[in-house]
Symmetry: C2
Subunit: 200 residues, 2 copies
DNA sequence: CTTTGCCTATCTGGTGATAGGTAGGTCCTA
DNA sequence: TAGGACCTACCTATCACCAGATAGGCAAAG
């Protein structure tokens, strides 16, 4: 019946740290994230996802009832992981310079470790063509980025300057990922990041 | 026969200024450009394009034999227009500040006049999922941007600094378009652009 | 005895692409 | 000035897939 369909499956996000289960759901998400980060939202299909795992597309629908649900789950997981890595890297950083450096490094790692741009950078570009739930999850990620950056700004600055600089940093790094990915040249990212950091 | 297929149709790009013919091909390109800039490469289909013009999808294939051809034509036209506008706007600008301002303004207009991000920003993000011809056309556009920016840098800077700053400016503006489009807030773009300009 | 994690089978509709046709126009030659 | 050759700008019809999604089943585990 529809009762089974209504009840959300797997709705508890695995926040537990000691979690070792690389279950089907997780592998599906890994595969989907990679595809989206390389080719965009429409580059993932339930069919291909299923093929990659050796299961059937209907089984993917078991884990994510609609594609939209997959998209939102992906952004949420990405955001969680991003800030977890960022906090670890920024841990102990006391100066604004050190915090900004940690931030840039986090983005750089995201770019180099998977040879693909930021999940939210990709989805952000595609905003108008996405289900609302997905694009607003992306917006939430960006807002969190801006808040983090504002807090990381030098104490002396007035709020307006902090906000402006935060927008600039995020924009520059997102753009740098895209650029350096398209041009297949990491030095483009590094150059942009250096200028960003030099700007205090 | 295949003879007719081999002969390229409409291969002369209309570079003439006094050209008033808003022919089918041009309208097709306008429609396709808008769709791509909003939803990405996969957001345009020959079917929808045809419907928008009241013709059949097969007729779209008459103008663009493959989708890839349409993509390349779009990027070429976009690049031509972008630099035409940029040159006009930068005409008479003598200082590096004025040139950079003209550059930022050109991007801002691209964003606001169509309420969509840069065609090449979108396609650049999707690079890995595009036909090679399309992504390399995009790369050419970016390279031309960087060259223009390097030339626009203050005379005093050494070449390496010019290159780095050029990458930064392009990255920041591209990222700012994406960000401000996703967050539906033009002030994000303006803030980023201000910081870019303030950085000399 | 229910839940979990998959399966088969199927539906509806969209995709790029091709083959082949046609009405109307231009242009060259006799 | 008439005929034929060729071009333009579409058309119809069809192909071979691929998309997301759903219904219903079934074996194993709790």
């Amino acid at each position: 019946m529809t009762l089974a369909a209504v009840k959300p499956i797997y709705w508890q996000v695995n926040t537990q740290v000691g979690d070792q289960v690389p279950d089907t759901r997780e592998i599906l998400m890994d595969t989907a994230e990679r595809s989206i980060r390389l080719g965009g939202y429409n580059a993932v299909s339930f069919r291909e996802l299923a093929d990659a795992l050796g299961i059937k597309s209907a089984s993917v629908h078991y884990y994510f009832r609609k594609k939209e649900d997959l998209g939102v789950a992906l952004v949420d997981r990405y955001s969680q992981r991003f800030f977890a890595v960022l906090e670890k890297r920024a841990d102990g950083a006391r100066t604004a310079e050190a915090l900004l450096d940690a931030y840039c490094q986090t983005y750089r790692t995201a770019l180099t470790s998977s040879d693909a741009i930021c999940l939210c950078g990709m989805l952000g570009a595609e905003t108008s063509g996405l289900p609302d739930a997905v694009s607003s999850a992306v917006r939430t990620f960006f807002r969190a980025n801006l808040e983090w950056l504002v807090d990381a700004m030098p104490k002396g600055l007035d709020p307006a300057a902090k906000t402006a600089r935060a927008s600039h940093v995020l924009a520059a790094l997102q753009g740098a990922m895209m650029l350096s990915h398209n041009m297949d040249d990491i030095s483009v990212f590094d150059a942009a990041a250096e200028v960003v950091k030099a700007g205090l």
